[in-house]
Symmetry: C2
Subunit: 357 residues, 2 copies
C-alpha cells in the first residue's frame, strides 16, 4: 500500500501526520540559515539518527541535549538551554527542532518563545503522548515551585511533524501514557474513536497509524478554534484537574507516575463527577471505569492524602475566583466546560476512586 501522510496548514502552524510524515516534510524545514536540534539522552541515541536518515538534505548545525524525565521539566533545564543558545551565538533567524516527548517539547517551546523575544521552532514528537497531545496546540511551560506548568505560555510551532516511525523504540510505560489522552478524545469529542478502542488493552492494538492521525486531528480541531483556551478547548481538561493533582502529588513524593497514569485516575474521578453533576448515565461511567482499569493500575493513594491533593488542586490554573471548575461529560463523546463543583463533591470523587475497584 502506498501510504501518504495527512497534510494540514492552519492559520498558525503546518502539520504533517502519519506514516512517511518525516520524509515528506522537506518543505516544512526549508529556508532557515541555521538548524538547532533539541534532544534528550534517549532521543539523541534513538531518534536523531532516524531524523537525519529521513531528511538527509537538512544540515543540523547544533545539537543541544537536555535530561529526560517528568521531574526535569524545570527552570534549570530552561537556563541550560538559554545559556547554550547564547554561547553558540544562535540568532533570531534560526529554527529550533524539538525532537522528543512532551516534556522536551514543553520546555523547548518555552525556551524558543522567550530567547531573544522568540525564534521559530518545529515539534517532532517521538512519543505517543507527544504525537497525539503535547506537540499540538502551543501550550508550553515548566513546573515551578510544586506546581505543574506554573510558568509557560501559549505559542504555536511553525510546524509539527508526527511520524509513528519513532514509536518503534518506545518503552511500554510511554505507550500507556499516551493511550490515556487517546481515550480522552474518545470521551470528549469522538465516540467513534472510543468504539475503535473499547474492550482492548493498548498492548493488543496494531492499527496505531490510524489512531494517531485521528487523535491528532481531534486535538487540532479543538485548539485551532480556541487557541487561548477561553471556551471549547477547556474540554481537553477532562480528567486533568484531579489528574494534575495526582501527578504533582507523586512528583512531590519523589515517586513520579506517568502523565497518563495520573490522567487515567483523574478520568475515573471526573467520570463519577459527570454522573453526579451532569446526569451522565451510570452504565457509561461503568464502561469508562472498566476500560481504564483494563489499561491502567490504580494509583497508591489513601484517605490520608486527600488534604494534600485538595490543596494542590486549589493551585490549578483552572481555578477561578477560588472556585473549582471542571470539564465534564454529558454523554459519551460530548464534554462541557466551566462546570463548578463543590470541594465536598470533589473529595467524594477521589473517595470513589479509592474504594470502587
Amino acid at each position: 500500500m502506498n501510504t501518504t501522510p495527512f497534510f494540514l496548514d492552519t492559520e498558525t502552524a503546518s502539520y504533517v501526520i502519519g506514516e512517511k510524515a518525516l520524509e515528506s516534510s522537506v518543505k516544512q524545514f526549508d529556508k532557515y540559515p541555521r538548524y538547532v536540534v533539541l534532544v534528550d539522552e534517549n532521543t539523541r541515541e534513538h531518534c536523531l539518527p532516524v531524523f537525519q536518515q529521513n531528511l538527509p538534505d537538512i544540515t543540523i548545525n547544533d545539537v543541544i541535549c537536555i535530561e529526560s524525565g517528568e521531574e526535569k521539566k524545570n527552570l534549570d533545564q530552561v537556563l541550560f538551554i538559554w545559556n547554550e543558545l547564547t554561547r553558540l551565538n544562535v540568532d533570531r533567524d534560526a529554527l529550533m527542532i524539538h525532537l522528543g516527548g512532551g516534556v522536551l517539547t514543553d520546555i523547548g517551546g518555552f525556551v524558543a518563545a522567550t530567547y531573544k523575544r522568540g525564534i521559530d521552532f518545529a515539534n517532532v514528537p517521538t512519543t505517543l503522548l507527544g504525537m497525539v497531545d503535547a506537540a499540538i496546540g502551543g501550550k508550553t511551560g515548566i513546573d515551578f515551585g510544586k506546581f505543574k506548568n506554573q510558568v509557560g505560555l501559549f505559542v504555536d510551532p511553525v510546524s509539527v511533524i508526527i511520524d509513528p516511525l519513532f514509536l518503534k523504540t518506545l518503552a511500554d510505560k510511554h505507550w500507556q501514557s499516551g493511550f490515556a489522552e487517546v481515550l480522552k478524545y474518545g470521551l470528549i469529542i469522538d465516540h467513534e474513536l472510543w468504539q475503535w478502542l473499547y474492550g482492548k488493552n493498548y498492548r493488543e492494538i496494531d492499527y496505531w497509524n490510524k489512531i494517531i492521525v485521528r487523535a491528532a486531528r481531534d486535538k487540532i480541531n479543538i485548539v485551532r478554534h480556541d487557541f487561548k483556551e477561553k471556551g471549547v478547548r477547556k474540554n481537553l481538561n477532562f480528567g486533568h484537574t484531579i489528574g494534575h493533582a495526582f501527578e504533582s502529588f507523586f512528583l512531590k513524593m519523589n515517586k513520579p507516575v506517568t502523565h497518563g497514569q495520573a490522567i487515567a485516575a483523574g478520568m475515573i474521578c471526573e467520570s463519577w463527577l459527570s454522573e453526579q453533576r451532569m446526569d451522565m448515565e451510570c452504565s457509561k461511567r461503568e464502561e469508562i471505569v472498566e476500560m481504564i482499569d483494563r489499561n491502567f493500575p490504580r494509583l497508591p493513594v489513601s484517605e490520608n492524602d486527600l488534604p494534600t491533593l485538595m490543596e494542590l488542586m486549589r493551585q490549578d490554573k483552572k481555578v477561578r475566583e477560588g472556585k473549582l471548575h471542571f470539564s465534564l461529560l454529558k454523554r459519551m463523546g460530548k464534554a462541557v466546560h466551566d462546570k463548578e463543583v463543590s470541594s465536598g463533591l470533589v473529595l467524594k470523587s477521589i473517595e470513589f476512586y479509592l474504594h470502587n475497584s
Copy 2:
C-alpha cells in the same frame, strides 16, 4: 483650560494618554475580580498613593515590590514575582498593574505573560522613558548573561495609561534618559517634533504634555502596524545597535549609565553611519550631534574598549546570519531599516564618537 486625555483603542491594547489620563481610565480597570500592583521601592512611595487617589474605586488586593535599577532587570526578580504570585494564590482572572519605569514594565510584562501561561496586565508608566517608549509596544524581557533583553517576548498589555502627573517626582537623570527616545522619534519619523525641540536643553522645556502625547502616538503608530518587528518597527532601533553595546559595556563594568545616555551616544555613531552609508547631508549629522551634545555628556569610552563593544554587538538580536544590520537615517524624519554595515565602518563610527566632540 479643560484638558482631556487622548483615547485610542488598537486591535490589542487600549491607550489613555496625557493630562488626567489616570482619573479618566476607570473603564480600563473595570471587570477584574482581583488587582495586583507591581511597584519598586520608589514607585511604592511616590506613585502608588497618587494612583489610589486618582482611582479610588479600584481595590488593590496585593502589592508586590521589587528593587529598582537597570542592573536589577534580571532573572532573580522574575523568580521573586513568580514566587509571590504563587504564594498569594493569584489566578488567571487577575489583572496585574505595572506601576513604574521601563525596567519594571519590561520585567512585569514578561512575568504576567508567563505566569500560568499568561494573565492580563496594564502598564502605568511613571517615567518619561516609560511613557514615550518602554510601556508601549509589548516588548518585554530581562537581561541574561551579559546581554540586554536576551530573554523575553512580545506581548501587549490590555491597557496603557500615560499620565504626566507622575513626572512631578522624577529625578533629573530620568528626564534626560527619556528625552533621548523623544529625540529619536523626531529623527526617524517626526521632523515637526524635532523642530519643537531643536536648540533646547531638556531642562528648559515646559510643554511636556504636548511632547509626551505626540511621542507616544508616534510609537503606537509604528508598533501597531508591525508588532513583531519584521519591518518598519525596526526603525525604532536607530541608535540602539551601538547604544545597547554601550549600555551592556558599562553595566558589565559595574558603572551603569542610563538607557538614554547610551542611546544618545549610539545615535551620534549611527548618524555618522547614516552620512557614510545613506548619504545623509553632513550638515544634518552636525545638527544631530550638536543637539545631542547639548543634552548628554559623552560617555567615558576609549580605543581600548572597542573589541569588547564589537563583541557585545555581535550578540545583538539585530544580528542576522552573523551580519550587522542597522536602521539609519536617509534624511531628518525618515529612517530606513535592514542596512548592512561592515564591522570596519561600525568601528570607525565609534572612533568618530571618541574623537569628534
